[in-house]
């Protein structure tokens, strides 16, 4: 296996990696201590994060330091301000934040402390998807320990810095991972995304300045402060710095979540980390970064896993959740499963998305059953063009349109085969039927 420096999952070699005791013994809370004891200013902290090149791990890849700098100046805008930690992790294929929350919750908490210090926030909420009961309990336990030791609460280390961190449970809706849907949900409403502008930094939770960050994003921050931005920027590729948690699922021998430098080739990850395609089969198709990033043909497996390389190839890094399909798997069925998901999860505010996802679900379904027509292929394209880009309140419509385009572009032949043969050429019983309640 290629050797590279690691840090994200190092603590996991210990069974008690989730405890404050282990966290403290392995460098934990050293970064926030350094900030408070050396008296770094919030601006200096933001500058360190900017210089590291850290980009958000929630899917969009936005530069984290820059995002933090959008929070208004407290001298001019003294309103209450908040951090909402996005622990809703529900993009199909993605299960990386769960590992951090379950096995290293203090790392998440220290990341929140530093972010709160940098943005002069005194209240943060961790919005955890409701199904992640174990992760929730681990974070709750870690928060209790951190409070007892004075890392969370009033006057941390006797300084002016005070912070409350509260846990909050979601209840099974994918759309609450979208940052404005998350804020509505946290306020106790339906998770209906808000039109932007206004942006969260000016009008977020309860209309106050708010920053939403992903769990893994925040988890990187203590390391950057402790070891320095140059150390961090020394890992990864030109415009995507640091290590990344890559999940790899589907038809591989050893699925899992791996810590890898940004920019590693997908082929290396498949072969050296995931043990290759299962059952000795060949690769048929793959998804680089969660269901929203679309299907790529097997011959593109040499691509580098970073933001820019995948963008150039017409895809996205997304949540770095690779999903592998062997040569016998049907991409049309996989797409039908995904269209069913987007249909179920559309919040219904925008007609293009509400109707579009339902149509996509039905059309992919009938093609898969062998009841499609050749005209359906053009219909798929025109539907997807009607939904995105930028035609709706949030990017869920894009998340359904992108894989649709990718199937038509990269796997048109398979769509045509289904229509011409009147059945799925790789038929696997039983047929897809139900939808979630």
């Amino acid at each position: 296996m290629a050797q590279h420096e690691t840090y994200l999952l190092d603590r996991l070699e210990h069974d008690d990696s989730h405890t404050l005791d282990r966290y403290s013994k392995t460098g934990g809370y050293r970064a926030i201590e350094k900030i408070l004891k050396e008296g770094l200013t919030p601006e200096q902290v933001i500058d360190l994060v900017k210089r590291s090149g850290l980009r958000g791990r929630g899917g969009a890849g936005f530069p984290t330091g820059l995002k933090w700098s959008f929070m208004p100046d407290v001298a001019k805008d003294p309103r209450p301000r908040y951090i909402a930690v996005n622990a809703d992790e529900s993009e199909p294929g993605t299960c990386k934040d769960r590992v951090l929350m379950e096995r290293d919750p203090h790392g998440v908490i220290e990341g929140i402390l530093i972010a709160a210090y940098a943005m002069r926030v005194d209240t943060a909420y961790i919005y955890v998807r409701g199904e992640y009961r174990f992760a929730y309990d681990r974070l709750l336990g870690a928060l209790a320990e951190a409070r007892e030791q004075g890392w969370v609460g009033q006057h941390v280390l006797g300084t002016e810095f005070s912070i409350d961190i509260w846990m909050h449970k979601g209840a099974g809706a994918y759309i609450c991972g979208e940052e404005t849907g998350l804020m509505e949900s946290l306020e106790g409403k339906r998770g209906h995304p808000r039109p932007k502008p206004p942006f969260p930094a000016g009008f977020g939770l309860w209309g106050q300045p708010t920053t939403v960050n992903n769990v893994e994003t925040l988890f990187n921050v203590p390391f950057i402060i402790d070891r320095g931005p140059e150390w961090f920027a020394g890992m990864g590729s030109e415009k995507s710095k640091g290590n990344l948690l890559v999940g790899i699922s589907g038809h591989v021998n050893t699925p899992g979540v791996f810590e890898l430098p940004l920019g590693m080739s997908a082929k290396t990850i498949l072969e050296e980390y995931a043990g290759g395609v299962w059952k000795g089969k060949e690769l048929g198709a793959w998804i680089p970064g969660g269901s929203s990033t679309g299907f790529l043909p097997a011959h593109m497996i040499d691509l580098a896993m970073d933001h820019d390389s995948l963008k150039e190839a017409g895809s996205m890094l997304g949540t770095a959740a690779m999903i592998m399909l062997d040569e016998d798997a049907c991409v049309v069925r996989a797409m039908e499963v995904m269209a069913r998901f987007y249909d179920h999860e559309s919040c219904g505010q925008c007609s293009q998305c509400r109707e579009g996802t339902e149509w996509l679900h039905q059309i992919f379904g009938r093609i898969e059953r062998g009841a499609g027509r050749l005209e359906d292929i053009e219909l798929l394209t025109s539907l997807a063009n009607g939904m995105a880009p930028g035609k709706t309140i949030c990017a869920l419509a894009d998340a359904a349109a992108i894989p649709t385009h990718s199937i038509v572009k990269n796997f048109r032949h398979e769509l045509e085969q289904h229509v011409e043969q009147g059945c799925c050429p790789k038929r696997r019983a039983p047929q897809l039927s139900g939808t979630t309640a």
């Binding site: 299960c95 909050h168 999940g247 979630t436």
Partner: protein, 179 residues
């Protein structure tokens, strides 16, 4: 019941039952302090009610929450019905949710679901006749690298093989902790 006519002065009056109860009310009073507005407690509170009050959320519970959080009952219903985790009707004694999203589908989720239905006598949308089982299809649960999976009464079971299904469901039925 006309309590004034029927109750002698020294006998306690039967108060209408509080659907939430003192314990949950005390928890919610604490939770309310975490937020600048009461409504934020709604979703966490719905979870706690479902956990403690029989696995589902009744209209009476929704009305009581509405009163507590100063909302209209219809607002509470609108929120509760938006979120797939909330059951607004009674469910079986055990609830099995099988993930049917893409990573699980690729590793045999439909076969697992079929086996779950065979073992329980329930199907998505139709509880078992003896009222013991509710079975549901779920979207991605964040267990994709250990697919296929199901959630049984709030606990994940991952890396499932077909033969595991009967053993795991049988263990919970006989009162033993499944693993």
């Amino acid at each position: 019941m006309n309590e004034h006519a029927n109750n002698p002065v020294d006998e306690p009056v039967d108060e209408p039952q509080d659907p939430l109860g003192a314990k949950l009310r005390a928890e919610f009073d604490e939770l309310i302090k975490h937020y600048p507005e009461k409504q934020a407690v709604l979703i966490p509170a719905l979870h706690r009610c479902q956990e403690d009050l029989g696995g589902w959320i009744s209209p009476e519970v929704m009305e009581a929450l509405a009163e507590l959080l100063e909302l209209e009952p219809v607002e509470v219903y609108g929120v509760a019905s938006f979120y797939p985790m909330f059951h607004l009707r009674p469910v079986g004694k055990h609830v099995v949710g099988v993930c049917h999203n893409v990573s699980c589908d690729l590793r045999g989720a439909e076969d697992i679901l079929e086996r779950v239905c065979q073992v329980t006598g329930a199907a998505p949308g139709v509880d078992s006749a003896d009222g013991r089982w509710t079975v549901a299809r779920l979207e991605c649960q964040g267990a994709c690298t250990s697919a296929p999976m199901f959630d049984l009464d709030g606990v994940y079971h991952e890396n499932l093989e077909l033969d595991d299904v009967e053993r795991i469901l049988g263990a919970v039925e006989s009162g033993n902790e499944p693993n």
